[in-house]
Symmetry: C2
Subunit: 272 residues, 2 copies
């Protein structure tokens, strides 16, 4: 159980991924064993935490509601997802987006003029990723060279209750290749996204840990900001993913509860 | 008119791309001005030629028929497209494909057992590139690590009568990224594909020229085989594509007729 004890030193805040760490999503959501208990233990110990998720098929409100219904003690102000960050970016840059997102969150972009678009926004759109829409995005990017291709993360895939699902990343890479452009990432692994979550709980990167199942978006992204990254063996984790050829998590843990128990045991010992 | 005269020396065979060189495809196909005449002139001069196309939404028979109906003197044995090459590859390797291609050519794969697939085949599928099908391909590639991802080319896009259209390349790149694999390319720019076309007319690479509108698939691909590559300024060519940052065509020409006239003028002078 002491597998990640050594990295617990000086931790004052937790960043938690949602899918694959707190619960597996899908036609019916399923909490991952022990994760609700782990969150409860962190709160009882007075350790601040933030949900740091690339979920773009749900609003932050929907994520908070889903977590609550699954028994997690999480409030809306603890949830960081890309949609609010993208909306802020669009407002600041006075952009008119061509949006390809899950129909469940399309209304989030109603405040923006979407006629005559001058940027493209991609989310985890699943079946809304049609050829016709991708081709419309492609034509916009080619007709107006230099306009932003904004993507809510670069994740390759996530694990749904029904199986593994292509995430927004492969569609982003396809458009990048077609147009010869580089996307603007809003969400993990972008530094701004991690820093906004850390800043909201007033914790410095070196005092925080990110726990996730995505070795690139979660672990490598956090480490690039100076945050320790712990890889869970739940969600889309597969034994053949370990070790990763180029990314070295600060620790591997079987699940979130394991990490939290380990952290709390270590912290208690430091106090005695 | 002598812009590419210097590269005509020693040419004994022509490889011609179809879309953007002979005609622009779409809801109604439109021959490119002078191209039918150019083909006729080459034939009158006894110069062998082959159609070397990555078209995977039409069979070779359909390409030959389309060309004939547009006034081109082209016979079926002069047409090289990826579908026959892919079918040969599948037979040789006893593969059961999961196929994402244009519905117009799906029947071409009827001879193969498509239950329990052990490879993925991608063509220019346009609206058949649905999330559901791409995700099924993705799951197969992840569940059976090492099985081939076969793609009929890596083209970024092509020009349709109705506008530019995403080609198979971006979807291939997306799946490569998601799975961490490299696709097997059957079609341009693979060397085997160019060599098969050259071999059929008994012309060595150094004695041949490839004329195309795709700087990567046509020009760079041909040059990698030792074939001279001429970029036409028709089809999807855009002025801002010239010069290319890394690929240097042996010549640029306004259109196919320009190249052929130039070649024939040069050849006539050599004989006098």
């Amino acid at each position: 159980m002491m597998e990640c004890g050594w990295i617990a030193h000086g931790i004052n805040g937790f960043l938690l991924d949602v899918y694959g760490v707190l619960y597996d999503s899908g036609s019916s959501d399923i909490a991952i064993d022990g994760s609700a208990e782990a969150v409860k233990k962190l709160k009882s110990a007075g350790i601040p935490l933030r949900i740091c998720s690339n979920t773009s098929s749900k609003t932050s409100q929907m994520v908070a509601a889903a977590l609550t219904s699954l028994g997690f003690e999480i409030s809306l102000d603890e949830v960081f997802t890309p949609i609010p960050a993208v909306k802020q970016y669009l407002r600041q840059n006075m952009l008119r987006p061509y949006v390809i997102v899950d129909p469940a969150v399309e209304a989030e972009f109603n405040e923006f003029d979407q006629s005559d678009p001058n940027c493209v926004v991609l989310g985890d759109a699943t079946t809304a990723f049609t050829y016709t829409r991708l081709n419309s995005a492609f034509r916009l990017l080619m007709q107006q060279p230099g306009i932003p291709l904004i993507t809510m993360g670069t994740g390759k895939y996530y694990k749904d209750v029904d199986g593994i699902m292509l995430d927004v990343g492969p569609f982003t890479k396809g458009l990048e290749y077609a147009c010869g452009v580089e996307a603007t990432v809003i969400g993990k692994p972008s530094k701004e996204f991690f820093m906004a979550a850390l800043s909201s709980m007033n914790v410095d990167p070196q005092d925080a840990v990110m726990i996730g199942d995505d070795i690139v978006s979660d672990i490598s992204g956090a480490q690039a900001c100076g945050v320790r990254g712990i890889q869970v063996r739940t969600g889309k984790y597969r034994p053949e993913d370990e070790p990763h050829p180029s990314i070295k998590p600060d620790a591997y843990v079987d699940n979130l509860l394991h990490a939290v128990d380990d952290f709390l045991t270590y912290s208690a010992k430091q106090l005695t």
